[in-house]
């Protein structure tokens, strides 16, 4: 048997963006494909509009439930500022896949801080391997902005060794029956985004 890949991912976003559901889907897809999986997230206070992260690792055998700074293969950021904030967790050559949406943190909303200017430029300047997705617009195109997390899953699927059928089977189980169609469409739009690697411009939420 060929050596199977071992991949470390860090998911980052804002409470309420569906980071937890995306982690759920990733874990179940990896398990269905026969990998050992460790996934770690934190509940409680940070979920109230705060910065949220989830650690996801799969491979033949995985020990630690946490990834480490400087070792992450794929940073999957659901919001632009949360991509920039965690860039240093990537290993050299690692990929940052991020949703170009902007969500103001509370100090910005309160007028006490400003959202970074030209965030896409800053990400590109800081990191060579970038895939930006307008996940919110693509999700709206699929039928609901709420499916932006599934657009992100579609986008990341291009970089992971999992079969399309496995993704679809897990998504069907993870979302409510009436929104399966919208979510599968959102997934497809995410997949397509990888082939074009959309040039992004920051979009306000």
């Amino acid at each position: 048997m060929n050596a199977r890949p071992k991949i470390d991912m860090l998911l980052s976003g804002v409470g309420g963006q569906g980071v937890v559901l995306a982690s759920y889907v990733l874990s179940h897809v990896a398990i269905a494909e026969g990998y050992d999986v460790k996934q770690s997230e934190v509940h409680g206070m940070s979920q109230r509009g705060g910065s949220v992260t989830s650690h996801f690792r799969f491979g033949e055998k995985v020990w630690s439930p946490l990834v480490s700074p400087g070792t992450v293969d794929i940073l999957m950021a659901f919001e632009s500022l949360e991509a920039l904030r965690y860039l240093h967790w990537l290993k050299p050559g690692g990929l940052v896949l991020y949703n170009s949406v902007r969500i103001n943190p509370s100090p910005v909303a309160a007028g006490l801080a400003t959202y970074p200017e030209d965030i896409d430029g800053r990400i590109k300047a800081a990191w060579p391997n970038v895939h930006c997705v307008n996940a919110n617009s693509l999700a709206a195109q699929a039928g609901t902005v709420k499916a932006a997390n599934v657009v992100m899953l579609g986008a990341v699927s291009s970089y992971l060794p999992f079969a399309r059928e496995t993704w679809e089977a897990v998504i069907k189980k993870a979302v409510p029956p009436k929104s399966v169609e919208v979510n599968l469409k959102a997934f497809q739009l995410g997949v397509e985004s990888a082939s074009v690697r959309t040039e992004c411009t920051a979009v306000a939420s």
């Binding site: 179940h28 770690s40 509940h43 630690s64 439930p65 480490s68 400087g70 100090p107």
Partner: protein
């Protein structure tokens, strides 16, 4: 929502540590499960309550939860009680006594510790409680062990007549890994109470007789620990031996993959011969553990030499694979995982933080807008409303532990009374900023605020106490409270009448206000602050997140808005300051995020924020 095993159910499932503990308890035939919600422990009981054949309850606090579980096990049914680390401080009294009395059927106490304080006020290491109370301690490293250890905990509990402390941390409770599911083993039904007063009535004469049995039990458990399958040697490179437990084992395996490990699952009392044997098989011996040097000190006390312990990591926060790898490499230990030593880019500097904040529409916002305007000293408590400490409100000036808001404000007011009597007639008395105000949520009030309020009423206190009643335990994800009229399992129940309760304990001034009506909140607070006796103001409105409340969103009339930013004092994520094409500052309201509560509209001095009429779905 009831879970039963079906033939189609997969034998292997990915579960969080908390889900695995619930599963293990259920498989062990547990009869009773109790808890008070607290991160990172909450999901254990939420999950357990979905299984059939187990009575589960949210208790009013951890002490009560412990006592209900002790009672159940004394009566002969296996019981589990779950709490966060600081919950065990609350439950310490019955916990210590339960160690003396032992039990009739297995009793497992779960403490979920929070190194790194992801959602806590301290990062105490509750392994110390096991030694303190003389009870065995189990530390699972992942979800598979969590399930296995809970089942074993019931066996150990019954075999040695002792409660068992099962200690997890955030990373074992909230990390997910693969678990093999098994069937439930039914335990004997409990049909009548047995009497054994010398064992269970802890008056001095009986307690004196129990203590030697407790100490003998520790010696017996230490003997058991020598052969316990959860304590095992995994020989690798004999140059490097590592003693470790819990999630630190997973980190250490990652950091120094080829080392030899003594992986301890039963960590109090320790197996002396096993440790000495491991010591003799390795050149250098290290201890890797998170938080306190609990194992390290115990091993040193056994007279066994250690070449590196706490000085190689930290007492503060979480350790992770990288921290271990770096410190071991620095100490010249061979076999460190090179990929963990790669240079890390510095983080991008100057980015705005993203702290947690009140949800759009949150019923606490209006109260804090007024507290902030009046610049009152606020004695806070534990819950979502602690976020009132942050910008732009800056209106929680202390917060220590559950229920303390009311009693601490009382202490402050009393010392100010003494101070005023000792000095010339103080004009400070008229200063509102010298009048401490307590703020506490409904669930926290039931947990331990009631006794504080009785103290205020009894001892001639004069403080103003605000109960922000959103009819749920919001911060931990919306668990039932004694005020809601239903239980954990959704059954109808008695509901505490908070105003009637306050009156019954002797508070005469009790007012209920709509927290979304800022003028009314301010009027009532000013009136109660002027009173020369204690008062309670209940700011009552349901949690918008838990009850899924959303009114039609507010809009900004950009013709009227002058960009003064006054509305931003609402501290709401739905508000955004933008510069329009003409270069003018204007506020916009995100129509997706806005819940239509109208607090910002009341803060606007120019009437620029338009609230939809009730007929259009706006808030009444």
């Amino acid at each position: 929502m009831t879970k039963t095993i079906t033939e189609t159910e997969k034998a292997i499932e990915i579960l969080s540590g908390n889900e695995a503990i619930a599963r293990g308890a259920w498989e062990a035939g547990v009869k009773v499960g109790t808890a008070y919600p607290g991160t990172p422990s909450t999901e254990i009981l939420e999950e357990l309550s979905k299984y059939e054949g187990v009575y589960c309850e949210w208790s009013t606090n951890e002490k009560v939860a412990m006592e209900v579980a002790v009672g159940a096990s004394m009566a002969g049914g296996r019981a589990i009680v779950c709490m966060k680390h600081v919950g065990l401080n609350v439950a310490a009294d019955p916990f210590f006594s339960s160690s003396y009395i032992g039990l009739e059927a297995g009793l497992v106490v779960v403490s979920a510790d929070d190194p790194g304080m992801h959602s806590s006020q301290d990062e105490q290491d509750n392994r110390n409680y096991a030694k303190f109370a003389r009870v065995p301690l189990l530390e699972p490293a992942d979800s598979g062990e969590a399930k296995e250890f809970v089942k074993a905990a019931f066996e150990i509990s019954e075999r040695f007549d002792t409660p068992v402390l099962l200690r997890t941390t955030t990373r074992t409770s909230h990390s997910k890994s693969l678990v093999e599911l098994e069937e439930r083993t039914e335990t004997e039904p409990v049909v009548k109470l047995k009497r054994n007063w010398t064992k269970y009535t802890m008056m001095p004469q009986n307690a004196l007789a129990r203590h030697p049995l407790v100490e003998q039990r520790v010696r017996d458990l230490a003997e058991y620990a020598e052969d316990c399958p959860f304590n095992r040697i995994e020989m690798g490179d004999p140059r490097v031996g590592i003693i470790t437990s819990g999630v630190a084992y997973a980190y250490a395996r990652e950091a120094i993959p080829g080392a030899s490990f003594l992986k301890l699952g039963l960590t109090f009392p320790l197996p002396k011969r096993l440790i000495a044997s491991f010591r003799s098989q390795v050149e250098k011996l290290y201890v890797v553990e998170e938080s306190d040097p609990f194992l390290e000190e115990a091993v040193r006390l056994l007279g066994i030499k250690i070449d590196g312990g706490k000085e190689l990591n930290t007492l503060l926060g979480e350790i992770g694979p990288r921290l271990i790898a770096e410190s071991f490499a620095k100490a010249g230990v061979p076999g460190v995982n090179e990929s963990l030593l790669a240079e890390v880019q510095p983080p991008v500097e100057g980015l705005p933080n993203r702290p947690p904040t009140f949800c759009p529409g949150c019923s606490h916002r209006g109260v804090f807008a007024v507290l902030s305007k009046l610049r009152l000293f606020v004695s806070g408590d534990i819950g979502c409303y602690t976020l009132g400490a942050l910008e732009p409100f800056n209106s929680v000036h202390c917060s220590t532990c559950m229920g303390a808001s009311i009693s601490m404000a009382h202490g402050m007011a009393k010392v100010l009374e003494v101070g005023a009597a000792d000095t010339s007639p103080a004009d400070s008395k008229a200063d509102l900023r010298n009048k401490p105000v307590a703020i506490i949520g409904d669930s926290t009030f039931f947990h331990s605020g009631i006794t504080s309020l009785i103290d205020v009423a009894w001892n001639g206190g004069k403080t103003l106490n605000i109960i922000v009643d959103n009819s749920t335990t919001a911060m931990t994800g919306g668990q039932e409270t004694p005020g809601m009229g239903r239980t954990l399992r959704g059954e109808p129940a008695a509901a505490v009448d908070i105003p009637a309760l306050c009156k019954a304990i002797g508070i005469k001034r009790v007012t209920t206000v709509d927290p979304y009506d800022l003028k009314e909140v301010e009027r009532v607070l000013r009136e109660e602050l002027a009173a020369d006796e204690p008062s309670v103001v209940i700011a009552k409105a349901p949690c918008v997140l838990e009850y899924r409340i959303k009114w039609a969103p507010c809009r900004v009339d950009s013709e009227v808005c002058i960009g003064c930013k006054h509305c931003l004092k609402a501290g709401c994520m739905a508000l955004k300051l933008v510069v329009n094409a003409a270069g003018e500052r204007k506020v916009e309201i995100d129509q997706e995020l806005c819940a239509g509560c109208g607090v910002c509209a009341q803060l606007c001095k120019y009437g620029a924020i338009v609230r939809p009429e009730e007929a259009e779905g706006g808030k009444a």
